[in-house]
Assembly symmetry: none
Homo-oligomer: 195 residues x 4
DNA sequence: TATGAATGAGTTTTCATTCAT
DNA sequence: AATGAATGAAAACTCATTCAT
């Protein structure tokens, strides 16, 4: 029933990002999204199963392509340390280039229903795997300590980056977060250095 | 208007924690909380201005006393490194002893209205200050590196702990998170070590 | 059960007038009246059957004594024309001396429940009778026309005075309504003059 | 937002008149009005901003068209005296042909909230102006006395008619009020006659 | 494919009244 | 006589979703 392609599909997702960023999750009614996308309310339901499906699809589409970009960039690098720097850099730069998206993913979607949050979690696994791979590689290379569970390290890396981006969004993006890349990188690398 | 003391005040807050943990934020109606607290619906409004006030008060009461406990324990210790270990330990142990509360603060209240989230943020500042103080002390002692902004370090520490607790709650608390204290501590200390 | 005498009985009625005049009928809660009267909420119910009973009693007490005053003053006069002038004068002067009461009776109590309005109507009959008597006397004296039903004439007199007082209250009592006495009197007398 | 035309708009207003006349203002729930109009509760809010808006619109629509009718009829007459008779006649006949509407406007809407009562007052100004014009014309023609303020005279005329209609409604419309037209007319004309 | 008018379920809050003390 | 803490019933409004056109 729901077609996951087409101009209108994209238009609706982009409209959803705009509307949620501007009005907040709780004031992002389907009719508002439809108006922003220049389609009728009913048309939404030709492309999405329900409202939750818009939000889940939004996250999958936008973050999925973000994860792909990250994945491809990392493949061009060899060493775990360099990959880690690139991951931090991409995370900061891609989200700071898409402020609406940053607001939506860091703030607004976190107020959503359990179902949506669950689906977001599923999508995030893809990214967690990318980080896990860097950490594992670092341990194999002998540059990262091997006495800690990979998932603990990944949680530190992701938790720290995520907290930093959220703080940046909440401060109305008043400073240049990309320039913090090296600070965070050295923090992680020192914390993980094998001895 | 709102009497902030008395058995019923506490009973209502405890009932709110239970109901939200069991049914989720979006299904925690005032009437359900009243029934759990063994009071009439209207009685709630003798003690709280409105539903938001219950949730904000809940957070302030429960986390406030958690922050106090942490503060007092840290005062008994001298070195920043030890204080950091104690902070991690208390955070993990106090929340794992109060699973309902952990569910409410880590998952459910994060779906709440902007007003509530804002008030929660205000309360959290107290905790951020505690972490900032440890970090500052560590830098003064010469054991923590001084080339990073204190707030960045604090975000790493808080973000990592918070992410870990949330993951533990989401995994239905199937493992012993307190036993991870030393892992996280060594991660932070190594990441921060001055050279 | 309900004692219709005593200091507190009067205090509660006076408090009701004040509270309704200041806050309006819809914001005149029993607890507010109790506080103004310096008694406990429950005490109200030792003197009045319920909230309606306060309002009905208020009207009976205040307007009843107003009607008595009017009755006595009229008895001192002989001619219908003079009685009519005195009635208008007393109506205007007594209500303009009691602005709170004027607000309550002309505006606020008219928003009340059907039951209260019915009881008010019953009390008003006493006043209608006074006007009817003046009109009948005027017809007997041969100074008022006898081709109109007494009740129609009374409705004109009362409707006109009532409309005038209400307009004066709604204009925030910005002009001296007592000085309009003669205008209204001549209007009525000319309208009623027998030929 | 609120579409002020269409069958449903009229149906809802007519339903509101019926429901309020039958059950009284305080028991006229939105859901009852919706059922009477054969629409869903939510449909009401496609045509009206809120419940108050239904009542205000009801008054504007019904009385507005009544005022228009009156205005047009009066334009066909020349002399102030004749216009005054026509005004009384129309007021009595139009309201006695619409008993539900008479109940609503004379009794029920007078118990409504200050906001509604204020809006009703605004609409009534249109009618007051019509009466004022008749009185002014009568004074210019030299048939009405010129020693009284036009607004005082208007208040007498309106207050008297209004009081008469209200009494008729309260007496369960047991007599023919239209037949009283001439009585009231002669009362006014004599009261106002210039000498 | 696309429309948009219509639907109807679901919840917080107030406040008159009671009754144990 | 007096208190005041506790009670619980009652109603407006929003918005995701449908379906006839």
């Amino acid at each position: 029933m729901a077609r996951k392609t087409g101009d209108k599909y994209q238009a609706i997702i982009d409209a959803a990002v705009k509307v949620i960023a501007r009005h907040g999750y709780h004031h992002a009614q389907v009719s508002k999204i439809a108006r922003e996308a220049n389609v009728a309310d009913g048309t939404i339901y030709l492309y999405f199963k329900n409202k939750d499906d818009i939000l889940i699809s939004l996250f999958k589409e936008k973050m999925g392509s973000f994860f792909e970009t990250t994945h491809h960039h990392l493949n061009e690098l060899d060493r775990a340390e360099d990959k880690l720097r690139e991951l931090i850099h991409l995370h900061f730069s891609l989200l700071s280039e898409n402020r609406d998206l940053a607001i939506v993913t860091q703030i607004e979607l976190r107020q959503s229903d359990p179902d949506i949050r669950y689906q977001i979690g599923v999508t995030m696994k893809r990214y967690f795997q990318i980080i896990d791979d860097i950490v594992s590689q670092g341990i194999e290379e002998g540059v990262f300590r091997d006495d800690l569970d990979v998932r603990i390290i990944r949680r530190m890396i992701f938790g720290t980056i995520d907290e930093a981006i959220t703080a940046w969004v909440m401060k109305d993006q008043k400073y240049d977060i990309v320039s913090l890349t090296d600070s965070f990188h050295s923090l992680f690398v020192n914390g993980l250095r094998a001895r």
